[in-house]
Symmetry: C2
Subunit: 343 residues, 2 copies
DNA sequence: CTGAAAGCGCTAACAC
DNA sequence: GTGTTAGCGCTTTCAG
């Protein structure tokens, strides 16, 4: 690391300095076999003397395989990536990638243009693999990735098909946990505000609600479909109150919606949790600060990102990892009754 | 886009199909001059027939300049990127980049390894430029970027030096606004909980507090230094209460700290805003949902990202844009008194 | 305006 | 074990 921090140092220079052929140098760099200890050492010295750094572009071009992987987020809404959820996922991914020689490219495949570019990046082998998140319905991205003939790992399961490789949180189990908790609290007229039914998570959470009530032998028809957003949650709660005024507990498929619902309940003079108990999903940071604080299902978001990255790495290495479902857990707070006052 | 979605289509193939030389084809692709209309059209047809997509690696190698730009986040804490703030910035950046042919690489220059890799990426011209965020003290990253001899745009101003190109929010002005609001509300014993003083934002917000009180002719010595975190805010508020029990208004340099402070105040039986009025900074999403909701300074976060990207693009294009300071504004909520009950 | 030729820095057969 | 030889797909002089 002594000389020239600005200029490119080439392999040839290293080879010359070390007094070996370029192939030998190359072999050392990629620690391939068939190099004598002496040469190996010489090359290594030259590398550190010169501060050699391989040129990733040349390497990718020659070997037809890139070092970068891409994280693509698909959504008709460009703001989707502003969701703190993704920030966490990215942290998880980066923490794994940082240990390897893979760079992370971020692509918001929002517009047609964005999608085209993703296809282009994949097709020209600028990226070795893709992690795909947040697709609803039959997302064109999925197809695009398949065509590109590049390893794809999904974060979350699309609503319409089960990918070969994916990591997901146990949405169904979590929803079941949430609903069971409501049952445990003594609620008997339990409704739900679902997420979008064209997303895997929305569907799974709805199923979990049904599971729990089936087991408890309770009616599972107090259902309003929402869209995961705060305002959507408010609207849905109004509908729910109208359609089923007797509801005494609600499982809400996202904390954002739960916050909207909370507002509506307050405005209607309905007390949480005394009159109606609430459970959300996601454990966003705001959930701790609402009044009352929100009981919710916590997801291991950063691990989700980590495992996505690990899985992609595994596929890249020629393995065939199995899909992974990460556990979710109940985080009790006051919106379902305090511990000192269990209903 | 008819044939072969999987295979690389090369420029030569396009040239052959169009019945022109490779150079001609290349010129058309890069819409350079010196090509007859006829040839141009032929090439364009061939391109779309074949679904040609230039290979970015080859291009970068040959031209010695990459298409990708990197967003590097520096922090001793890998979780820093989990901050929703960054997610917003990234959205802003992406929205601009999506219109261009630049890819976005994300690098968390957390570990020494991460920093080394960043240097490597820059040095081997895998990236055309860098956007750097969140540095405190004399961040090694800044130096690294300079050495690499690649355009660098800073997001926020480091505490120790003023970079050539940067975009920042008007932290000082915002802090002043916040403090002035406290004055307007009739508070006279106004304290502050600052952020980290080795970050530009922490410093600037403290100065803004001083500015406002100097103008108002009020005492500006009720100062406790915090660290931007929720727990840090709680600790700081305890200290402040001990050191200056007479305080009746506090400007707190981040909403996270303000939330911690709010908790301490509540526990101490001090009513907000009646006894003590509070103003935070950032307008994080939780600020709307605390009890009482938090008056705070809103920053244009997404625009910040957008402008960073635009500035980098400008530099890349050979321009010399001036640094940019984005305005901040006061968002009034109940923590400084309701509008129906202005103190 | 146009095309030929010479690389960019590296990998990968292939002979030795 | 080792070095030589071709390229990877593109840009870029440089003559025509």
């Amino acid at each position: 690391m002594t000389e020239s921090l600005r200029r490119q140092v080439t392999l040839d220079e290293v080879a010359e300095r070390a007094g070996v052929s370029r192939s030998a140098a190359s072999r050392v760099i990629n620690n391939a076999p068939h190099v004598s200890r002496a040469k190996r050492a010489a090359v290594e010295r030259a590398v550190s003397d010169l501060g050699y750094v391989p040129n990733a572009n040349a390497r990718a071009l020659a070997s037809q395989q890139a070092g970068a992987v891409v994280l693509a987020i698909s959504s008709e809404n460009p703001r989707a990536f502003a969701d703190p959820f993704f920030a966490e996922v990215v942290v998880g991914i980066s923490s794994v990638l940082e240990e390897t020689d893979h760079e992370l490219m971020l692509m918001m495949a929002t517009s047609a243009r964005g999608q085209a570019r993703l296809g282009q990046v994949l097709r020209t082998r600028q990226a070795a693999g893709v992690m795909l998140m947040s697709m609803h319905g039959d997302d064109p991205l999925a197809r695009l990735a398949e065509q590109a003939d590049v390893p794809v790992v999904f974060g979350g399961v699309p609503a319409t098909f089960e990918p070969r490789y994916y990591v997901d949180a146990d949405n169904r189990g979590g929803a079941r946990l949430a609903t069971e908790h409501l049952v445990t609290c003594g609620r008997t007229r339990i409704g739900t505000i679902t997420g979008r039914m064209d997303e895997g998570a929305g569907l799974a959470r709805y199923r979990g609600y049904q599971d729990a009530l089936a087991v408890a032998g309770l009616d599972a028809t107090r259902v309003i479909h929402g869209d995961f957003s705060e305002d959507g949650g408010a609207d849905a709660m109004r509908e729910l109150l109208t359609a089923h005024p007797d509801v005494d507990g609600v499982f809400i498929a996202s904390d954002q919606m739960a916050i909207g619902a909370l507002r509506v309940l307050q405005e209607a003079g309905i007390t949480v949790p005394t009159d109606v108990a609430l459970v959300g999903f996601n454990d966003i940071s705001t959930a701790r600060h609402t009044t009352p604080p929100l009981t919710t299902i916590s997801q291991p978001i950063q691990p989700l990102g980590r495992e996505m990255a690990r899985m992609l790495l595994a596929v890249l290495a020629g393995e065939r990892p199995s899909p992974l479902i990460l556990p979710t857990r109940l985080t009790k707070r006051e919106s379902t009754g305090t511990s000192t006052n269990p209903t």
